[in-house]
Subunit: 205 residues, 2 copies
């Protein structure tokens, strides 16, 4: 076999990935179905398994794309930001929020525990997270030039988790977190407080 066949394989893979991504975006990862996918792609159910290990592998592939776009989004945003470290942090958080609220289902799929069985997360998953963390760590290091790296790392994870939590509960309609319209403001408030850029007032700005 060669060229043509390989190409067709790749095309099928892409097609399935596109459709799966659309489904996850619209209805969440939980509603992805092998049969529906195959029927939309115009192939047999079995064909999926020629191109992906299983449905979990497919979701992982979707998540790979999502992570890529997320990284890009944040990178672009931070590149346009000014030199002030606090504002850089806010920019990162703001673009993270924008990403999450544009495609909440794709975003949530990144953190769905399932991926169930055994060995945990693929390596590239953690690498993508590291990439995000590195972008947060940079301005933090500027703010605290003397802090040892593992203290920076802890702060990074703390801030990331905090902002993640605010967005998570805020986007969740069921639980009354920070109202969606106020999330951005509250993230700015939190970050300015933590970095010490705003010492006195209660609300942001």
């Amino acid at each position: 076999m060669a060229r043509d066949t390989e190409k067709r394989r790749a095309e099928l893979r892409d097609r399935l990935l596109d459709i799966a991504e659309r489904e996850v975006r619209n209805n969440g990862a939980a509603s992805l179905r092998a049969r529906a996918l195959a029927s939309e792609a115009g192939c047999a159910v079995g064909a999926i398994y020629n191109v992906f290990d299983d449905m979990t592998g497919l979701v992982l592939a979707v998540n790979g794309r999502t992570f890529g776009r997320l990284g890009e989004t944040v990178t672009n945003a931070v590149a346009k930001a000014g030199p002030d470290p606090t504002e850089q942090l806010i920019t990162i958080a703001r673009s993270y929020l924008a990403f999450a609220s544009t495609d909440p289902n794709l975003w949530r799929a990144l953190f769905v525990a399932d991926m169930s069985t055994d060995s945990a997360v693929p390596a590239w998953y953690l690498q993508e997270l590291q990439r995000l963390f590195a972008m947060i760590a940079a301005p933090l290091t500027k703010l605290h030039p003397d802090a040892p790296p593992d203290e920076i790392d802890l702060m990074t994870r703390t801030l990331f988790s905090s902002v993640h939590g605010i967005i998570l509960l805020g986007l969740e309609r069921r639980i009354s977190g920070v109202p969606e319209a106020k999330i951005e403001e509250m993230i700015g408030f939190l970050l300015r407080r933590v970095t010490g850029a705003d010492k006195g007032r209660v609300s942001g700005d």
Copy 2:
């Protein structure tokens, strides 16, 4: 019908609730099964439906208990805390963390989106959250006596979501959040920074 029958009903309800709670605690809400439950309780599957609307209702009942214990835990902790508002906030967060890490599955069940269908969260759910929020709002009001109530409310939700996020990702082994051993330290750091009780240093204490 009367007394005896009612009592037996109540006993069955309690028994089912106990078993369900144990199952959720040990293996998570997702692994609750009607048949297994009935067989452990020594009754027929159908009997479950004499006492609960459906399996969702059962999980809700488990969550009700969990919420009760959570509220109690936090109330007790805060009652023992000193007068300093920042330390009160830290106490609340710390007891929230202790609760979550003691019974992560029960805790997670409180926030599982499922509860799927339609009309959202039962009223008492939101009331329990309000109770928690009120405990956070009290020290915040002490810190900012002049802040209007809705600003206090926003801060409350912001802090709650932040701490929730730190705990969530920290307890999640897959994703590298704040390492479990450091969560408490980082929550203290965050809260002191936000309240302004610690202006200069990077790490807590």
